[in-house]
């Protein structure tokens, strides 16, 4: 993994004005992945969109951690069903 693709959690706290405990809570709930390199914690830049989304839902819509877990599960399910739907529609083309 390239270290330049990692963003230190301290930097995230500063940029987004969020508490470190928030990132820790997301990590403890399995909502984001935190990578530790030489005792410093990082989030991979590929996971930033997910982090930003969770942040918006928590701070803007006042959804607590349990709510975020439920939403993440449901959105993952929606995404899965969406992909299934695309696959089924493509398959339906065989019978048209």
């Amino acid at each position: 993994m390239k270290t330049e693709e990692l963003i230190a959690t301290e930097e995230l706290c500063e940029r987004y004005s969020v508490e470190h405990t928030f990132i820790r809570s997301l990590y403890n709930s399995g909502l984001i992945e935190v990578i530790t390199v030489e005792k410093r914690e990082y989030v991979h830049c590929d996971k930033m969109a997910e982090f930003e989304k969770l942040m918006r839902l928590h701070y803007d819509l006042e959804i607590n951690l349990e709510g975020l877990e439920a939403i993440k599960h449901l959105l993952d399910r929606v995404n899965e069903l969406k992909n299934q739907n695309i696959a089924l529609k493509n398959r339906l083309g065989l019978y048209e």
Binding site: S17, E52, R56, E62, N90
Partner: protein, 302 residues
């Protein structure tokens, strides 16, 4: 341009208190927030509308102006100027205390009505945190024909005014989305660039049917070849192929031509199979001689 009833948008009445507005906004935002309605254009538009309504109604100055001019909003600026001249108050509606929700979506696209009434600098943004660090992700749709994705090819796309040259891998599927890392919006204050997500819409411009890496085709087979066997030439995706027909082949028989299907996505030189279904054509307009001979054959079978 039409008048926008912001109260109606937030489903509140004109006597709503600040707390009522906040409550109504939050309730609607939770319902229509783009993060909770991925890829839903209607929800996105609705969210933009409620954001705009909140921008106006949660800011006492903007609300006052909006209420004061109501449907005469087209003259609002004119009245405002006159009023300002009279009071020599100056200023405008640049400041405010309202909060609007942030996002990596186009939530800042306010209506012409808003722009005309409050001007481009009329909006207040943000929730106190920096909503953007990573650059914005872009979404694009690319229309291709099935024949285009049989081989990997390079294509130049123009996204937000920038030309991006990318290789479209053979075997990409209809509805599939691929991520082009770092081709979204620029990051803010050293933040990583956003990504570009391209969704492929693939139109089938061939007679073949496709399911993932497999192709399907129906071939008409004449009655005698089906009965007695023989050889036929068929079209594959890439050219012609000779097929040996077994004697007494039944209608609807399906044969597999291994490796004559579609390329497997991101598996170089690997192909799916082509399935051919025979559709046997029974002779029509029989002559009296043919009828006679078929009757003879029928008798042999009974």
């Amino acid at each position: 341009m039409e008048f926008i009833d912001y109260y109606k948008t937030l489903e509140i009445n004109k006597s709503a208190t600040k707390a009522d507005i906040k409550k109504a906004y939050r309730k609607l935002a939770r319902k229509h927030h783009p993060d909770l309605n991925p890829n839903d254009e209607n929800a996105k538009k609705k969210f933009q509308k409620i954001n705009e309504a909140n921008e106006v109604l949660s800011d006492p100055e903007k609300r006052k102006k909006y209420d004061e001019y109501g449907k005469d909003w087209q003259h609002a600026e004119h009245f405002e100027q006159q009023k300002q001249q009279r009071s020599q108050a100056g200023g405008g509606f640049g400041g405010g205390s309202s909060q609007s929700y942030s996002g990596s979506f186009d939530d800042d696209r306010f209506s012409d009505f808003f722009e005309q009434m409050f001007g481009g600098g009329g909006r207040t943004r943000g929730t106190g945190r920096s909503p953007h660090f990573k650059g914005q992700d872009f979404n694009a749709e690319l229309q291709l024909n099935l024949t285009d994705v049989y081989t990997s090819h390079k294509q130049t796309l123009t996204v937000n005014g920038k030309n991006i040259r990318l290789t479209i891998p053979a075997g990409v599927e209809n509805g599939q989305t691929i991520k082009i890392k770092g081709h979204g919006g620029p990051g803010v204050q050293g933040g990583p660039k956003g990504d570009l997500f391209i969704t492929f819409k693939i139109a089938n411009n061939t007679d073949f049917k496709r399911e993932k890496e497999h192709l399907y085709s129906t071939v008409e087979l004449d009655f005698y070849t089906a009965l007695l066997g023989g050889e036929i030439m068929i079209d594959t995706f890439k050219g012609k192929a000779k097929l040996t027909i077994k004697p007494e082949t039944q209608n609807g028989t399906r044969v597999k031509l291994k490796g004559k299907g579609f390329p497997k996505y991101k598996q170089e030189a690997e192909f799916g199979d082509l399935y051919i279904t025979y559709n046997i054509k029974i002779p029509t307009n029989l002559s009296s001689k043919e009828k006679e001979l078929y009757t003879e054959l029928q008798k042999l079978r009974s």
